[in-house]
Symmetry: D2
Subunit: 402 residues, 4 copies
Amino acid sequence: MSVLRVGMVGYAFMGAAHSQAWRAVNRVFDLPVRVEMTTVCGRDGDAVAAAAQRLGWQSHTTDWQTLVARDDIDVIDICTPGDSHAQIALAALAAGKHVLCEKPLANSLTEAAAMVQAAASAAGLAMCGFNYRRVPAAALMRRMIADGRIGQIRHVRAQYLQDWIVDPQFPLVWRLQKEKAGSGALGDIGSHIVDLTQYVTGQRITGVSALTETFVKERPLPTASRGLAASRDGASTGEVTVDDAALFIARLDGGAIATYEATRFATGRKNALRIEVNGSLGSLVFDLERLNELSYYDSAAAEPGFSTILVTEPHHPYMDAWWPPGHIIGYEHSFTHQARDFIEAIATGTQPEPSFDDAYSVQLVLDAVQQSASSGSGWTHVRGGAVSAVRRTVEAAPPPVS
Amino acid sequence: MSVLRVGMVGYAFMGAAHSQAWRAVNRVFDLPVRVEMTTVCGRDGDAVAAAAQRLGWQSHTTDWQTLVARDDIDVIDICTPGDSHAQIALAALAAGKHVLCEKPLANSLTEAAAMVQAAASAAGLAMCGFNYRRVPAAALMRRMIADGRIGQIRHVRAQYLQDWIVDPQFPLVWRLQKEKAGSGALGDIGSHIVDLTQYVTGQRITGVSALTETFVKERPLPTASRGLAASRDGASTGEVTVDDAALFIARLDGGAIATYEATRFATGRKNALRIEVNGSLGSLVFDLERLNELSYYDSAAAEPGFSTILVTEPHHPYMDAWWPPGHIIGYEHSFTHQARDFIEAIATGTQPEPSFDDAYSVQLVLDAVQQSASSGSGWTHVRGGAVSAVRRTVEAAPPPVS
Amino acid sequence: MSVLRVGMVGYAFMGAAHSQAWRAVNRVFDLPVRVEMTTVCGRDGDAVAAAAQRLGWQSHTTDWQTLVARDDIDVIDICTPGDSHAQIALAALAAGKHVLCEKPLANSLTEAAAMVQAAASAAGLAMCGFNYRRVPAAALMRRMIADGRIGQIRHVRAQYLQDWIVDPQFPLVWRLQKEKAGSGALGDIGSHIVDLTQYVTGQRITGVSALTETFVKERPLPTASRGLAASRDGASTGEVTVDDAALFIARLDGGAIATYEATRFATGRKNALRIEVNGSLGSLVFDLERLNELSYYDSAAAEPGFSTILVTEPHHPYMDAWWPPGHIIGYEHSFTHQARDFIEAIATGTQPEPSFDDAYSVQLVLDAVQQSASSGSGWTHVRGGAVSAVRRTVEAAPPPVS
Amino acid sequence: MSVLRVGMVGYAFMGAAHSQAWRAVNRVFDLPVRVEMTTVCGRDGDAVAAAAQRLGWQSHTTDWQTLVARDDIDVIDICTPGDSHAQIALAALAAGKHVLCEKPLANSLTEAAAMVQAAASAAGLAMCGFNYRRVPAAALMRRMIADGRIGQIRHVRAQYLQDWIVDPQFPLVWRLQKEKAGSGALGDIGSHIVDLTQYVTGQRITGVSALTETFVKERPLPTASRGLAASRDGASTGEVTVDDAALFIARLDGGAIATYEATRFATGRKNALRIEVNGSLGSLVFDLERLNELSYYDSAAAEPGFSTILVTEPHHPYMDAWWPPGHIIGYEHSFTHQARDFIEAIATGTQPEPSFDDAYSVQLVLDAVQQSASSGSGWTHVRGGAVSAVRRTVEAAPPPVS
């Protein structure tokens, strides 16, 4: 069996999630390739050494530039914040590596476009880490839509609701600062629902009208222990420069209309990524807080009603590798599935999904949303086709995983 | 006990619902006034006679002009389609009657404004029939918000989802023709969520950005038996001239932001009026398909979680008049509660709610939505204060019913 | 149209529920007979006069013996506590009246048997008021089982959970005294789940093993205003002489096995009558707190899952008479449906269901439960066939209402 | 850091689940001891070699007798079927090893008693693998009950519902043969709800009345590929000699009464372990198919209702080691938590729970159930105190994990 040697940059939340996926993937799935967790990279030498030990990496380094060029590395896995995605990905692709890059693809359209172009001509394969596509219920949703089970799509209702900064005393962490995070709820979680709805419907968003809001405009500066140096000049608060919430309505290129909402102020909603799709023949509903379930309305049923499919049967996407029916899986398994699909794509030399192109299409939507919201100019068309031809329909897509 | 003699115009769906309310209200509630179902009015003499018999009216007539002026009538209850609301209401108010008018107030802003002005100077009291305010769980929602139980409101998420015209073979009934219905999903059910969200939050919508869509643009003409004459010139289909669905995002005057969606194409959703409100201290969620329940998240609870309040306790609005806890009520009871509140307002000489002013504020929002959607001009301010001073805050409102 | 003149004995909770049914039934359903609410009867003259006024009865009396023999009365509706059912029903049947008797049929097997025998030879028709059979979702459950939709039945899981006496300071009302109430949770609510499960499955319980418990054995005496004279000798508490909860396992004559639980100590459950039936091809689940819904699992579905049927479609039992789909009904409507079926049976001269025979079969089960629980003797056979031949299978039953 | 060298016997379903726990536990939790997956043992040399490779064991063997005595092994993890638990555990304890033994403890009371006695005098620590105690929501349920949050317990309602053998063509696998499996649904899944209800309530079952049923009495013999040799004499079916379902009612030593049901014939229920506990002050409800949730009714809340606690907060048992709030975990994590607690008990020299004593108490209940069901003798006392003094109350228990 051949070996795929991985170098991972970043070891925080996403790094931990990716590490468990690399550790588990060969133990759960029969794959033609064996993963080797070769090196983990981070800026702080002591911290990255500890992370390597805990997360299961054979070695560690603080020098990503060297890492991406090493002969004993096949894959670069980018788990850093968005502002360093482009430079690492470009270097890795130039060095001929396969690249798995966390979402969002980049903090600017310019960077993202450069990454798409680099991927188009690279020897390695490039994929963006919209892991929720690999939740079995979401993959099943896509499969059922592609199979025509709900007919022609009319409505998309997408929400990503969290509440972790409702408290105005929650500190001004980097995710609330524009220069570091790019945007707030919009880029962080709004990007997920844009990608996931485009994925399950096979349609692309063509236009939006949006508003964004920052409910708490000033927050305490974080203490150093929280990862940011406290202000030295006595100031105890700082300005929040990103959105707390983003709302938009949209049209999709297959004729559907949609509402989107991403917020960190939905008190009581912890990780409620919820998507409802209404078609001419039925409907499908997904909620990440109950990620093992998919709700399905089939108007052709003898006694129709929304049914709760427990997505744990062997014929459901990815689930034949896990436990018997009814034994549920968790959030982290989506990363294991992502690793499996990435490895299989590399092994077979096919383009993994979502490609950088797919991820770029998400960036274009977010850009239109910000433009609409900031200018108050109302309806804003999503730029399309700028970088390369992108797949447009779910019919033309490779068959969904089983 | 004094008597309130009612004359009702219209006897279809709403007329049946109002009739059962008039029949039941004195048997359920202790009221200072007894209702007499004096006369029902309709255009077709035989049909209105049959309706009077079935619905429990003492007499019937085909002449509303005479009815509204009769000395033996105290209340005119208007249950006709929207295009005749204004003329009946204006005549009844001019004749000194109390008026209960079904929603929407009118089909045009001009008519609606005239009704507001007439009500302002009339001897009788005027109320608009947004009956869902009288669903106990909705009334409880308002009371809890007014009591500060969820703090400052940040998000409103409102949907009214139905699916009765998903089938493209469903005929072109009058509700799908602009000249008769004014608008489609927007006015019919969108008006309910505009009113209900303004009611429960005590905030008014100040601006919107909207889109509307007609998914099925041509439909079979209805057969005569369906209530519309079939085309004589051989044409078997006609154009749908109203919206099938309306989506908008909005800002409210208390700082909240909101998404609204009204549609008749949400396959599987029969009467899903759903409202979620997120505040700084908690959240509340209502769903008309489970109208005896209110979901409440209290972030101050020891172990917070969304709880399902079964709104059947004696201390819940209206419920001390009904059955023991856990014995649920239905859709029609909202009309009984509406009748009770209307009667009490008349008996005490206070303004019933929603006033024509309140209903006019809904019209203004719908107008802004249509303007935004049709022009594609994006953000549209809701005109305000045009007719008379309107109550703006829930704090200033009369105490909610108990 | 002919007229059915009703005399009702008792006007408390059940009397109010029955009265609204008599008032509504001709306004909702097209019936060949018109109901006249002739006379209501009660022991307290002033109270019954007030009740007549409020509930809509034309006259009132304190003399039930005379009432049941009057020529201008066709139906006697018995809404008194169980200890007077037998004497009123026997007199009414002897006088040739049709009889609708509230459940449970009687407080003793001997009385119940006499009622069954009287009904068998009477000119009038007799029916017992297990109203939950007329909840549309329960009637649909029976229809789907009779139609073979879930195959051969294996499991019945029945609970009737309330919590109104969890507080040990709740007073010793008559329902907690054996001499008046016969039994506690068992007869009051356990009887409902015995009848309803026998009804929906078409199977009869053949044997049980049971336990009963009285958690709070001593309670404050109620004040006189609560309807019971306070103790004169200074004692402030009295003994609870009925069960707070009853649990039993059972076998049914069609091969199913079952668990039953009736309790007034299920904190938080207000009126949770819940029945789950598992068959060889599917399952059905009902919950009275969400009585407009029926949950259905069809193992032959392409993607099986428990679906929530919103039982508000015109093809669902009784629902074509009410509102459009999605507009739910309440607890009281089960009585209106019961009145409709009773009237139709009288009009067509057919035996209404549940007959006194059916109700007697419930008494036999309750008797076996008490015997098993009190003796600790374990498995106890349910006596059968003692009074008259009773229908045993759902196949032989008249077609369910549509 | 010291090392704990594990030898595992068996590598099927439970072996896979335990292996992932041993692999993950040091990467998720900060522990004073590091696990080494030293050797896996099975009867088939090739198969165990493949399993070792896939599951991550350093070596493999087919000789458990030698394994349990090796100096380089500290822990024996028994994942075989129940008929070999006793011999392996006794040998391992005699050799001074710590033992983790899958449930049920043994197939006979005699074997189980011997294991309890051996554990009592052994140098190593012994624990039984009732892993569902380590589901965070179940552990939280216990903590809340121990903290008095629902007061005095009155009702326990426990079900373990599956449906994997509803099809009569499902073959006669070893789990359906008494000589191999001991019992059917009762021992396999009934044991879980007996242990879990005793665990969360801190009460022991003192008596039961039971029935068991085998719905499908003859099944096709499995093909050899299914793991059992097909009949050579031409017979194509064989007798099912275990229960398909077991039902019982019970009393607990703290005054609660209970219903239990374990079945493999609840069509549509895949892994529905459901427990509801009603106390004098509130209620708690758990469902393994939604294992990240705990439903809680607090009668002292301002507006009481059953709330859905999403058990993913850092202060919930075990959850500070995983992902941010709202990011759910799965079935397998219960084994990781079990490994963590076992390791911590070994590291601190304290008795891990559930002890063999605890597991023996479950065996006593199952024995009473079978006796009651087979004799039809009704109420059967659960033998107690036979082996050693066992903890009786949750108050005396070590503090629950946090």
